[in-house]
């Protein structure tokens, strides 16, 4: 533990000199970009050497053609999926957070509900799909895609909320209580902010899970969204379309992940 009381330097983060920092910033984008270009070149070279049939592995140029000519269609299908992803993510996280709070603070809920939730957690969520479709049919209410997406987004948030709220130690609680603070005050002013970094990390995982959930269901039960269009393309051996769709999904997944990471950094500078 650092205990030097003589320290009088103004508080500041250790920072690299400005020139160094801007180079770091550029390299954060340029390095993966260069690597991506190298992979594409390697891909093209492999096709030239081994003479793959375009159905097995189309050249990057064909994928690019799909992206440029059918870009609107891909984007439209992706936005269809994104609608489910975001709604499933929001509802799942909200319920997940509430369940985490209830499990942490209510011994009855903890004993009765938590084991059941953990049991649900270890079951692959797609297993519920036949049941959901049996109950409501495809496109019924609640939408089977949203339910599976919610289930996947639910658990990381629940577990992280529990971990965060349980990390509040006795002395922090006593700090509020010794001054007459109510339990609600303690929750709002201590437990909530204390658990925030944990919850945000849970949300980042939940977002990736939501992508997995929605796309998985779209592929299993083709209907709307980019996952269903991938199945259509598979039916007609349109390999370049499948790869183009994967590129689009990956781009959106990456954007969602970094958006949440950015929010996380903004909200928890103190951490």
């Amino acid at each position: 533990m650092a205990t030097d009381v003589e320290v009088v330097a103004p508080p500041s983060e250790p920072v690299a000199p400005p020139a160094r920092r801007s180079i770091d910033r550029i390299r954060r984008f340029s390095d993966p970009l260069i690597f991506g270009v190298l992979i594409t070149i390697g891909w093209q070279v492999i096709i030239q050497i081994f003479d793959f049939h375009p159905v097995v592995l189309p050249p990057p140029s064909r994928v690019w053609t799909v992206l440029s000519t059918q870009g609107d269609f891909l984007l439209e299908s992706m936005l269809d999926s994104l609608d489910t992803i975001i709604r499933g993510f929001l509802y799942g996280s909200l319920f997940g957070w509430a369940a985490g709070v209830a499990i942490t603070y209510s011994p009855i809920v903890r004993r009765a509900i938590h084991p059941i939730l953990v049991a649900l957690f270890v079951v692959p969520k797609a297993i519920f799909l036949p049941l959901l479709i049996l109950w409501w049919g495809v496109g019924g209410f609640p939408d089977h895609k949203i339910v599976v997406t919610m289930l996947l987004a639910f658990f990381p948030v629940t577990e992280n909320t529990i971990a965060g709220l349980s990390g509040v130690d006795r002395e922090m609680t006593e700090l509020s209580r010794s001054l007459g603070g109510s339990a609600l005050f303690m929750f709002r002013k201590i437990a909530l902010p204390f658990s925030l970094p944990f919850v945000l990390a849970g949300l980042r995982i939940a977002m990736t899970e939501a992508f997995i959930g929605t796309l998985f269901v779209e592929i299993l039960v083709p209907n709307e969204g980019i996952g269903s269009r991938i199945v259509d393309a598979q039916d007609v051996s349109n390999t370049q379309f499948i790869i183009a769709a994967i590129v689009v999904i990956a781009a959106f997944g990456l954007a969602a992940y970094f958006l949440l990471q950015w929010i996380e950094k903004r909200l928890t500078k103190w951490y």
């Binding site: 205990t3 922090m172 700090l175 001054l179 007459g180 603070g181 204390f194």
Partner: protein, 267 residues
């Protein structure tokens, strides 16, 4: 604020465990007095502090603060914990202001927010950390964090300061510096202080009186009157009178010279 402990006992009971932490504690602390409670680990010192503050109820006896029986936290007490217990999402200033927010939420604040803010600045200056006013706790060393937590305990101008081994995690050099700082702050504010420690020279250096506690169940074995002149400076630690009080306290705890370990027939 004067404290009177009248036959305090505390038993912790769970399904399969029954621990008698304190038994028959009777003691008094005068207004403006600096009293240390010293004893081996697990003797119930911290429990005693929590009983005085009203955070936990005793199983026997009564605690009186200025002749009023304690039955729950009152808000008129400043508590300094062993760990700084700072809220790391708040700046130093907002940490020091935290008691205001708690008291205001109970409509129990004795002064306006502006007055509290003014006092916060004064306290941070007194503790020598005003330049860190807007820093986050992670940017401070352990010693500085504990100073912030002392400022926080004083912000609502409590009559009583309860300190639970506040310097226990610090190295010896920092601890001595903090002892001197604490005495300076105490001289300026004249609070009643109950200070828990297991460090004998620290207790002797700081206190008007040292209460010595036994192992579990904690009882008060006796007390040592520290009639050394104030203000106390670092050099006092080397005086014969100071060492006499340390030895007296050691004997009361039951720490001898160690010679018995060398004899053929250990006691």
């Amino acid at each position: 604020m004067g404290i009177r402990l009248d036959g305090i006992g505390k038993i912790f009971e769970t399904d399969d465990l029954r621990v008698e932490a304190l038994s028959g504690i009777t003691a008094e602390v005068q207004d403006h007095e600096f009293v240390s409670i010293i004893g081996p680990s697990g003797c119930g010192k911290s429990t005693l502090l929590r009983l005085i503050s009203g955070l936990i109820p005793p199983t026997a006896g009564t605690t009186f603060l200025d002749d009023v029986a304690v039955d729950g936290p009152t808000g008129g007490i400043g508590f300094v914990f062993q760990a700084p217990t700072l809220l790391k999402w708040r700046t130093v200033f907002k940490n020091v202001m935290f008691p205001y927010e708690v008291l205001a939420s109970q409509r129990n604040a004795t002064a306006s927010k502006a007055e509290f803010e003014e006092r916060a600045h004064k306290l941070l200056k007194m503790a020598g950390i005003e330049e860190f006013t807007h820093a986050y706790p992670k940017q401070l060393s352990g010693g500085m964090q504990q100073r912030v937590s002392i400022c926080r305990a004083l912000i609502h101008d409590p009559d009583l300061l309860l300190m639970d081994e506040p310097f226990g995690a610090l190295d010896e050099f920092t601890r001595e510096r903090m002892n001197e700082e604490l005495l300076r702050i105490w001289r300026e504010t004249k609070k009643t202080v109950v200070f828990v420690t297991h460090h004998i020279p620290e207790a002797v250096f700081l206190s008007d009186r040292v209460l010595v506690m036994s192992r579990r169940p904690g009882t008060i074995l006796g007390e040592v009157e520290i009639d050394l002149p104030r203000p106390r400076l670092a050099e006092m630690r080397e005086s014969v009178e100071f060492l006499d009080r340390v030895v007296e306290t050691r004997h009361l705890i039951g720490l001898g010279s160690g010679a018995e370990l060398l004899s053929e027939d250990p006691v």
